[in-house]
Symmetry: D2
C-alpha cells in the first residue's frame, strides 16, 4: 500500500495503436509520477484495459481539474473511464445472516486498517451480531426477510444504502437472494461470496451437492451480483483439498476458510479499482 495520496485511472477502449503513448504522454506532460501501471489487450474482444496510479502531489492540479483535462484524451480514444482518489474512502455496507466467519474476518481487516474503508452500517436478517457489530462502533440494522415482506425488506435495504451513501455492498454469506431490482440498481457494486467453485454447484446447499458428487476439491467464488443467480462476473476463486473422510459438516468448516479469504481478496481488488468488468467477465489487475 502506498502511503502517499494517489489517483487511480481505470479505463477501457477499443484497441488501436498509440493508446498507452497518449495516456502516459498526458501524465508525463504534467510531471505525473506513475506508481503502478497495468495494461491488458483483449485480442478476442478487440478492447484495451488499463489501470494507472499516479501520485497526487506530483500533479500541478487537483482531481476535478485532472478529470477535466483528461476528458479530451479519453474522448479521442473512445474510453469508458473513471479516476478515483485514494484519500476518499470507499463506503462499504455489509450484509450478513447468522454465520460469523466473513464478518469477523472483514472487521478484523477493517479495524487494523488493512481495509481502509468506511463501514457506515451493517445489515442483517437476524439480530445475532448486533452486539459484536455495535461494539466496533458500527450501526447495525436488523431487517428480517420473510416470504411475505421481501419487497419491503429490500426497499428498506436500498433506502439505507442510499441514505449512508454506500458505494459498495458486500454479501458476507447473506443467505437471502436479492431482488432483481436491487441487483439491477447497482451493477458492479454488489459483491457476493458463493460457497462453491462456480460454475459447479449453483444455488442452495453447494457443499451437499459437492458431497453427493464426490469431488476431491471444494471451493468458493467471489463475484459481482447480477439478476441471474450465481451467474455474475467472477472476481476471484479458490479451492481446498478434501477427501472421502470429510462429511458435509467438515466441508462446511473447510469451506469457511476459503470463503472468507476469497471474499477479502475480491473485495480488496474491487476497493482498489483493480477490477474492470467487460460483458460477464472481469479483468483483475492484481
Amino acid at each position: 500500500m502506498h502511503r502517499q495520496r494517489y489517483y487511480t485511472l481505470t479505463a477501457s477502449c477499443p484497441d488501436r495503436v498509440g493508446i498507452v503513448a497518449k495516456v502516459s504522454g498526458f501524465f508525463a506532460a504534467h510531471q505525473g509520477w506513475i506508481l503502478e501501471t497495468a495494461l491488458h489487450a483483449d485480442d478476442t474482444a478487440g478492447r484495451y484495459f488499463m489501470r494507472i496510479e499516479v501520485r497526487a502531489d506530483s500533479l500541478p492540479f487537483h482531481l476535478a481539474e485532472l478529470r477535466e483535462r483528461f476528458r479530451p484524451v479519453a474522448e479521442e480514444l473512445g474510453m469508458e473511464w473513471k479516476i478515483s482518489d485514494s484519500a476518499v474512502k470507499k463506503r462499504v455496507v455489509v450484509l450478513v445472516s447468522k454465520q460469523e466467519h466473513c464478518l469477523y474476518d472483514l472487521l478484523s481487516r477493517w479495524q487494523s486498517k488493512e481495509l481502509d474503508i468506511e463501514i457506515p452500517c451493517i445489515i442483517s436478517n437476524h439480530d445475532t451480531f448486533r452486539g459484536f457489530v455495535e461494539w466496533h462502533g458500527i450501526p447495525f440494522h436488523h431487517i428480517p426477510v420473510t416470504a411475505d415482506n421481501k419487497a419491503a425488506a429490500y426497499a428498506e435495504i436500498q433506502r439505507l444504502y442510499e441514505e449512508v451513501k454506500g458505494d459498495t455492498m458486500v454479501l458476507a454469506r447473506y443467505m437471502q437472494i436479492l431482488s432483481p431490482e436491487l441487483c439491477a440498481a447497482y451493477p458492479g457494486q454488489i459483491l457476493n461470496i458463493h460457497h462453491s467453485f462456480l460454475p459447479s454447484f449453483v444455488g442452495a446447499k453447494p457443499y451437499h451437492q459437492a458431497y453427493e458428487r464426490g469431488v476431491k476439491l471444494i471451493g468458493a467464488t467471489c463475484h459481482y451480483v447480477t439478476a441471474d443467480l450465481d451467474q455474475g462476473p467472477i472476481i476471484d476463486q479458490d479451492v481446498i483439498r478434501i477427501d472421502h473422510s470429510d462429511s458435509v459438516e467438515d466441508m462446511v468448516r473447510y469451506g469457511k476458510d476459503i470463503e472468507k479469504t476469497v471474499l477479502a481478496r475480491g473485495l480488496r481488488y474491487h476497493l482498489e479499482d483493480r477490477v474492470l468488468v467487460h460483458g460477464n467477465k472481469t479483468v483483475v489487475f492484481r
Copy 2:
C-alpha cells in the same frame, strides 16, 4: 514403495462392532507383518472400508491359501474383498490420440519403474506416436475411429485388451467416447483424464467453456469411465490459477501440466489398490 513382496487386502462391508479386530486378529494369528493399514467408516452409508498391506514372507502360506483361509472371515462380515500380490504387475493398456503430454509422462514413469507395470500395448486412433512407442519396445496399434466404423473399432480395442490380458485401460487424452458396451464391460478398470474440474464443463472443449465463463482457476479430473459421459466416480482432481490475460491456447497449455499430473496420481492410486468405489464415489486411501 516397499521393496519386499506384499499382499494388499481391500475390502468393504456393512459397519458393525469388531471388524478391525476380526481382520487384524486373523493376520496376527498367522504372524502377518502389516506394513500399512487404512480404514474408513462411512457414517452416511453405514459401510466400512479397509486396505491392509501385509508382508508376503511373514505369512506361513502362499496367496491361494491366504485367500482360502480369509474367506470365512470375509463371509462372516459380509465383505466385498480382494487380495492382490505386489509381485504380479498390473497390465495397463494405454489409449492416446495426437496429444503427447500424458503419453510422454506415463512412459517416463514406466521406464524409470516409478510405475512398476506392464504396458502390453498402446492403441491410438492416429499413427502419430508409433515410432515413439515402438522405440520403447511397446507394441503400437493404430485403430482409426470414424463415424462409420465405431462399432468395429471398439470391438477391436476390446479384442486386443482381452488378448493381452489387460486389467487396466487408461484414456490418456484419447479424444473418442468409448461405446457404452465397452464402458459396461470393465467397470472400475477404465481411467479417463477429463480436462476440466468436474462437474464444471462436461463434454467437448472445456477450456473454451472456461474461457467464456471467466473462471479464475482451471482444472483436470481423473475418473473411472462409465456409460454416462464424464459422470463416473472421481479419483483425483487438481486446479491451476489463470487470469484475464490467458487465452484459450494458454489455458490448454497450463491444463496439460495438470492433466498429466492428475492422471499419473489417479493411476497410481488405482494400481496400488488404493481406490474403493462405492456407488458413484470413491474412497482413496492415499
Copy 3:
C-alpha cells in the same frame, strides 16, 4: 465433528506383529463402537502410532475404568498412551501482542463453537485488545515484557496458566520469545505460529529476509515451542504465491492470511489429539 461423546486413544509403541489386533480386540471385546482409526508404522524408527475414537456410550464402563482395563494391554505393548474424553473441553490460554488477525480468527472460531474449547484467559504484553477480548466475556491480562522484567513476566504467565488449569498455550503472533524454563515446563503444550516456511527464515523479520532473497512463495509454520527458537516439531505449514511487485508490506498482509489459517489448523489437530510427537517430528492424523 461427532455429536456423540467419544473417547480418543492416542498411543505409540515399538512396532511388532499384532498391535492392531490386540488394541482393536480389546475394544471389540467390550462392544466398543469405533468411529475413526488412524494408524502409522514408522519403518525408520521402528515405531507404531495410533489414534482411535470410540463412542463413549458403546462401552459398558466409564473413562476411569476404561483406562484401568486398557492399562495391561498398553503395558504388554510397551506403549506411551493416553485417552481423552470429548466431553472435557481443552483449556486454551492465548498469548497475543498487537496484531489482530490470529486473535480475531481464533475468537471467531471459538464463538461459533467450531473450536469447542474453553479460553480461560488471554494474555498480552500490550493492552490493545482488552476491550475486544473482554467484550467476548474472556478475562484479559496485560503483562508487559521489558528487557528488565522478563523473568518476572514469564513467571506471572506461568502462574496464570497454572491457576486457570490451562492445558494448551497458543502464541497467536505473540512477539516475545518465551524463556527456556517456560518452554521446558510444557513440552507439547505450547503452539506457535511462525511467519515463514521453516526452516527458511528463522528468527526476526522473516518477511524482510524473504524479500531480500527474492523467493516466489512465502509461508507460515505452526509448531510446538521448544527451547530452540523456531526449531520445534512442525505441525502444519502452508505457502502463498508472491511476485516481484510485492513489497515487504504486501508480504506481511498476504502472510497474515496464511498465518491465521495454519495456526487454526494446527491448533485443531492438537485439540483433537491428532498430533503425536516423536523426537523432533510429528505424526498428524488428519
Copy 4:
C-alpha cells in the same frame, strides 16, 4: 502464444517521470502495434523495469533499424536493454545425468512445439539416455565427470556450448556442480532446478534434509546458476504437501512432479524474455 512474428523489448533504467511515455511514444510514432506490455517500478531500488511485445509487421523497418532508432531513447533514459525477435529460436543446450523426468518433460514440450526452441545437443555425464535423445534426432554427448577430469570436462562442455552457438544452458537434474569459471562465463544463461524450496535445504540430498526436519511441504526452485551454490536469482518455485507417512523415497517421487513443472515454467519465462535480473533477484513478467 502469438502466431505473428514480434519483437520483445526488455529494459530497465533508473525510475523517473515519463519513461513509459517516451518508450510507448517511440513505438506509436512508427505505428507499432503493441501486443503486450508489462511494467514494474521497484520503489526500494528506484529502478524501472519493462517488457514490451510489438508486432514485427506493424513497424516500417527491420530489427537492425529498430535497434538503431531505439538506441537514443534508451540512452536518454540510461537503460540496460535488448530487443529479441520471435522468429529467431533460442538455442538451448540441456545437461542431464541419470534421472529421466525433466528430460522426458522437456522433450515432450519440445516435440509438440510448446517449447519452440532449437536443442542443438544434449550433454550427460552418463550414457543412459543416448538412445532416447538420438531417437528424437538430437545429438548426444557423453562427457564423464570424475574427481580427476573436472577441468577438462567443463572445458569440453563450454567448447560444445560455444560450437553449437548455445544461448541457454539447462541443468535438468544434472548432478554435477559446474565450475566457477563456467558459471561466470554465462551469467543469466544457465538455469538449474534445485530439488528444494530454497533457501531451505541447500546442497546435497535436500529430501533427506526435509525428512529429518519433518516439514509438511516440499518444493523445488528454478534459478539462475551463479558461482555460489544454490544462491543464484530465483525464477520460480513451487511446493507439494506431504505428511508423516511419506518416506524419503516418496518425497523423491513427489518432488519429481514439482521439479519438472517448475523447471519448464522457469525455462519458458526465460525463453520469452520475461525474466529481468536485478542484483540477486528477478522481475518475472508472467
